[in-house]
């Protein structure tokens, strides 16, 4: 990749992601509505929502909370840029983790008990999902010998062939990251939850818009991760991403919200079995293949 | 209608605990406690077994008379007793859960303690309470 293509990729990511994520969320809402026999909102509704949030009054519960939110947005964007310019996967994962920590700190900065419980649950969700992200990077490394996204992307054969377990694990934690049932613990797409909007309770107006924006960037970035599994065949990749997203919506519509203990237990168990199992198997296969 | 027979009997406030114990021993369920503000205060305790409902009537001349709580016998009675306390200002002694007047949030204390607009003359109470409180 030349320097210019890298800059172009970064700019495209920063500009297009919110629109793409907004359209995706709009589709998500329409399909969810249809699954519930409703007509649902217009396709562009999430984008209208975002623009409206930015126009609202700025009310601060605690100023430091907003500083942390900016950190959340900034590090999510940085992670995305690093990913889409073909940088180091480990830096992407660390920047993403840092962003989540900023988000949690932002929620802790507000005094509300709902916000606190939401933040605690968000920490638990990070604990549930982070091992899988790291395992994913390790899987790519074992399969390709590199943490560079460009190298992984340039593989001649799709990685899904060697890393199916890692792919399954990634779909699993995508549900957590997208805040879909049964994992919508810390906050949910609608307020009908025992801790209301949980981690986002105390943020309103432009600050809530920042969270939505960062969430959009994060979604695109995670879909980028999944894309890497099918990199040589873009059309198949697109089909796979659509299928995965549809399954996420279906899961959201066929599950109750579950307890955080259950989420932590099953996420660890599932990712350990499929992720670590895949890694170990791959390791032995490669050793056996090239003695 | 094969509705169960309803009986009303009037008892003195002192005999309330004793009567409630007897109901409990007979296996009755506490159905409700109702307070009415006529010229005096009238409390009705309803107990039911299959096919019978018994109502115990207690008349007290004004809300300063404290009544014993039956929550040691029927654990769920505290809700009724707190409600009557908050709406009528009658005090119950020995409640197992006492919300100290914070069960019902009312703008004015004891809003239901005013006598009815169109009150009939008070019925002749049987023994202990002569009607002596003109309001």
């Amino acid at each position: 990749m030349s320097a210019w293509t890298r800059i172009l990729a970064a700019i495209l990511f920063v500009l297009l992601s919110p629109i793409l994520a907004g359209l995706l969320a709009g589709l998500d809402r329409i399909i969810s509505a249809r699954m519930q026999s409703r007509i649902g909102p217009p396709l562009l509704q999430p984008i209208y929502d975002l623009l409206k949030l930015f126009q609202k009054e700025r009310i601060a519960v605690n100023r430091s909370g907003h500083f942390f939110l900016l950190g959340y947005l900034l590090f999510t964007i940085l992670a995305g840029i690093e990913f889409f310019i073909g940088g180091d996967l480990l830096i992407v994962i660390f920047a993403l983790a840092l962003a989540s920590v900023f988000f949690v700190l932002g929620a802790f900065a507000a005094g509300s008990p709902y916000s606190h419980i939401g933040a605690e649950r968000e920490l638990i969700q990070i604990m549930a999902s982070e091992p899988m992200l790291i395992m994913c990077a390790m899987g790519f490394y074992v399969a390709t010998g590199s943490f560079q996204v460009t190298t992984i992307h340039a593989q001649p054969t799709p990685l899904i062939a060697t890393l199916p377990g890692i792919f399954l694990g990634m779909i699993y934690i995508l549900t957590i990251k997208l805040r879909k049932s049964p994992f919508d613990l810390s906050t949910s797409h609608h307020a009908h939850q025992e801790i209301v909007k949980g981690i986002t309770t105390e943020f309103a107006g432009p600050y809530l818009a920042i969270i939505e924006l960062a969430h959009g960037y994060e979604t695109i970035l995670l879909l980028g991760f999944l894309y890497l599994f099918f990199a040589p065949w873009p059309l198949l990749a697109l089909a796979a991403l659509i299928a995965v997203y549809f399954l996420e919506i279906l899961a959201d519509n066929t599950h109750a919200r579950l307890y955080w203990q259950w989420v932590l237990r099953t996420s660890w168990a599932f990712t350990a079995i499929v992720g670590a199992g895949n890694l170990i198997l791959l390791h032995y296969l490669q050793r056996g293949g090239t003695p | 209608m094969n509705a169960p027979a309803q009986t009303y009997s009037e008892i003195a406030p002192e005999r309330l605990l004793e009567a409630a114990n007897a109901q409990r021993a007979a296996g009755s369920r506490l159905v409700q406690i109702c307070c009415s503000r006529l010229q005096h205060f009238e409390l009705l305790y309803s107990f039911s077994r299959p096919h019978t409902i018994e109502h115990l009537r207690i008349c007290i001349p004004d809300s300063r008379v404290a009544l014993p709580s039956i929550s040691s016998i029927y654990g769920g009675s505290f809700a009724y007793e707190n409600e009557i306390h908050d709406l009528y200002g009658i005090t119950f002694t020995g409640m197992n859960v006492d919300y100290q007047g914070h069960f019902f949030r009312t703008a004015i204390p004891a809003p239901m303690a005013v006598p009815p607009v169109c009150a009939a003359p008070a019925p002749k109470p049987n023994k202990p309470q002569p009607q002596k409180e003109p309001t």
Partner: protein
């Protein structure tokens, strides 16, 4: 983090659409104690009876609650009728029975939806409410209102239902029932639903009895109590078997209500073809003098109407003891020691209607 926090829960809480305030003392995510307070929408309806003509008070009695509206109106009328010694026409009794059962089905289906919403199952919630529309349509077609029927009247019913309409209803009910099976099977079998309901909010048989639980709460703890057995309206001509579950947890209460929905369908199928011809109301003369406790079975449980008349057009005392009020002490008991995530589910399983508990 074993420090105690107090979480204010309600009166404005999205998952608890009822104006009750609970101070939840929590430790980690466990509830140590729940302290209720209400009175946010105390409307003084019981006091209003002193200013309203006893026949016109029916309109207010119907509006004590928006869901079990019909039985409130009917219970009030029944209490007044008994005080006045009226025997209402046979057709009115059967129509009252029909509307009571329709109102039970629609209330239970709404409740199922709210419960699904409380544990975060939006699709199930929407499905229950979509099917409930079918029942609401029947109610609207027969009574003119969707939830406030406006059909109760001292001395009978305010409107008659044409016989051809009565003959058409069973087909509509069957259509709803067929679709409902798939939904109630989800409540019965689904893994994630069972995770959230089984073993949650246990109420033992003794506690249920001692704390004065009523309705599905009491029946789910193994006590067969159903006021319909008293035989008001036309229930003396219908065999009603109380539906009892033994488990005493949230799942048991859900099952009681689901089975009651199907029982109500059965009752309606028996009632509709048997509505006798004749007038639906009678002329009322005089005014109530005396007192009476009417006991009826609402969807939420046993409800008590106490009427004390003094021989004028204005009653001395009208008291409603709603099932929600009786279920508050068991609710507080169940909330002790539960998880924070279970609070909405447990509160929902008493099917709270705080506005009728406060009148």
């Amino acid at each position: 983090m074993a420090n105690r926090t107090v979480i204010p829960f309600g009166p404005q809480h999205p998952v608890l659409p009822e104006p009750i305030h609970l101070d939840l003392v929590i430790e980690d995510e466990h509830v140590v104690e729940a302290i209720p307070s209400f009175g946010f929408i105390h409307r003084g309806l019981e006091k209003l009876v002193e200013k309203k003509d006893f026949t016109e008070f029916t309109f207010i009695a119907e509006r004590i609650c928006g869901i079990c509206s019909y039985i409130h109106g009917m219970g009030y009328c029944q209490a007044v009728e008994t005080v006045m010694g009226l025997e209402i026409p046979e057709r009115a009794k059967w129509l009252r029975t029909m509307w009571s059962e329709l109102s039970r089905i629609h209330s239970h289906m709404m409740w199922l939806g709210l419960l699904a919403d409380a544990f975060g199952f939006e699709n199930l919630f929407m499905a229950c409410w979509r099917l409930r529309e079918g029942i609401l349509d029947v109610i609207e077609e027969t009574s003119g209102g969707r939830v406030i029927f406006g059909a109760a009247k001292v001395g009978g019913c305010r409107r008659d239902v044409p016989d051809d309409l009565l003959a058409r209803i069973p087909a509509q009910l069957n259509a709803v029932e067929d679709e409902l099976r798939a939904i109630t099977n989800v409540f019965r079998d689904d893994f994630s639903v069972r995770q959230r309901l089984c073993g949650v909010g246990l109420l033992s048989r003794n506690d249920a009895y001692d704390l004065g639980a009523v309705g599905p709460m009491l029946r789910a703890s193994g006590v067969a109590q159903d006021s319909r057995l008293d035989g008001y309206a036309a229930y003396d001509k219908i065999a009603v078997e109380p539906i009892v579950e033994e488990s005493g947890d949230c799942w048991g209460r859900t099952m009681v209500r689901i089975r009651e929905i199907y029982q109500s369908f059965d009752i309606l199928r028996h009632v509709l073809p048997n509505v006798p011809p004749g007038p639906v109301d009678m002329k009322i003369t005089g005014a109530p003098k005396g007192e009476f406790f009417a006991r009826l079975e609402q969807p939420r449980g046993e409800v008590i109407y106490y009427v004390k008349g003094n021989g004028t057009k204005f009653l001395d005392r009208f008291r409603v003891r709603t099932p929600t009020f009786a279920n508050i002490p068991p609710l507080l008991k169940m909330l002790q020691g539960c998880q924070l995530a279970d609070v909405p589910v447990i509160v929902l399983t008493i099917d709270p209607c705080i506005s009728c508990a406060e009148r």
